[in-house]
């Protein structure tokens, strides 16, 4: 867990000090892609807690969801429909769901641990 947080922070620092920023025209697509990636991360954390984490599912989800979200946003711009909202809603809801499940499983585990300790 700590390794992951450190990785994220290092990434943010690298991004800040690289003298490159995303071109204005692509900024909105990257934003949607970021949301999809964030959703995949939360999904991975949840399955890691549950113990059914599979690396191929995680990587395909991370890359695939990001690409589809960006493509959807781009197509929406082409067609004149705010399709990126679909991605925002879908991934937003999923992030909250995943977080909720993580919360629950952590709390339940802690309770059972403390019971076991009492019993011993």
């Amino acid at each position: 867990m700590i390794v992951l947080i450190i990785a994220l922070l290092v990434g943010i620092l690298i991004g800040l000090f690289i003298p490159i920023s995303i071109p204005q025209d692509y900024s909105s697509y990257v934003a949607v892609g970021l949301l999809a990636a964030l959703d995949s991360i939360f999904g991975a954390l949840k399955s890691n807690l549950k113990g059914d984490f599979k690396i191929d599912i995680f990587i395909s989800g991370f890359v695939g969801n990001t690409l589809i979200a960006m493509l959807l946003a781009y197509m929406g711009d082409m067609l004149g429909i705010p399709l990126y909202q679909a991605a925002v809603v879908a991934f937003g809801v999923r992030i909250f769901q995943n977080f909720g499940e993580m919360r629950r499983s952590i709390l339940i585990k802690n309770k059972s641990f403390s019971k076991e300790e009492k019993n011993q």
């Binding site: 922070l9 690298i14 920023s21 995303i22 990257v30 892609g33 599979k54």
Partner: protein, 247 residues
């Protein structure tokens, strides 16, 4: 709860790498968004600044014009007081007044006509050049020419006095007269014999006939009293000098 530092599994390494990439992208995106906001604010600030400058210049313009009027009033007072001194100066002043009318440097009034010209009100039709239903500088020029030929003594377009240096020039969708831009409608005032002026404009095959063919809106009014303002621009002659006697 005890925090156990476990050896990172393969999955955690993968997540770590992707999180690293995610972090880079997040901070790049944040930079990009911040830049675009700054750009927008800059544009807004610039627009506000320009608007303020325009207001400032307008105020200056008004006060400068007031100054011109004040100075001219003073000149007139001096001339009047000079005229009362002797017969010669009185004659000179009469001469000066005549020249001023000729040069368009005083407000004048008298009988004449008022012509109102406006773009055609007919809606644009396909396959027809919309330009032919608009008023052009050449149309105005022809009307002015006709008025001059009919003996108009003073002419103004939208209260811009037509003097020897006046230009009537196409300036995009507007027409520039004395370096001031005007859009339709154009109100041309002329002092002279109202009947002659009107007839010369309305003669068969004349300019008004031509304009009406393109459904340009033309209105001609005879008036017993037309007031034509003076020329308010600057008069500077850099090249033309009075020819010296005997040369």
């Amino acid at each position: 709860m005890k925090v156990k530092i476990k050896k990172p599994t393969g999955g955690q390494v993968a997540i770590a790498i992707l999180l690293l990439v995610l972090g880079i992208l997040i901070s790049m995106q944040i930079k990009s968004v911040r830049q675009s906001n700054e750009l927008k604010n800059l544009e807004k600030a610039r627009a506000i600044e320009l608007a303020e400058q325009i207001n400032q210049l307008r105020k200056e313009n008004v006060s400068l014009r007031q100054q011109i009027y004040d100075l001219e009033k003073k000149i007139k007072e001096y001339q009047d007081s000079a005229a009362s001194i002797s017969k010669t100066t009185e004659l000179l002043k009469e001469e000066l007044d005549k020249v001023k009318i000729l040069a368009g440097l005083t407000d004048v009034e008298g009988p004449g006509i008022i012509i109102t010209l406006d773009d055609s009100k007919i809606p644009a039709q396909p396959n027809v050049d919309p330009n032919s239903f608009l008023l052009h500088d050449s149309d105005i020029l022809q009307v002015i020419n006709e008025l001059r030929a009919a003996g108009a003594e003073a002419i103004a377009i939208n209260d811009q006095r037509v003097v020897s240096t006046t230009e009537i020039r196409c300036a995009g969708p507007t027409i520039s007269i004395n370096n001031t831009r005007y859009s339709a409608p154009y109100i041309i005032k002329a002092i002279g014999d109202p009947k002659i002026l009107k007839n010369s404009l309305e003669m068969r095959g004349g300019i008004i006939d031509l304009l009406k063919e393109f459904s340009i809106e033309v209105k001609i009014e005879e008036a017993s009293k037309v007031v034509i303002p003076r020329y308010t621009g600057s008069l500077k002659f850099n090249y033309a000098k009075i020819k010296s006697e005997g040369s």
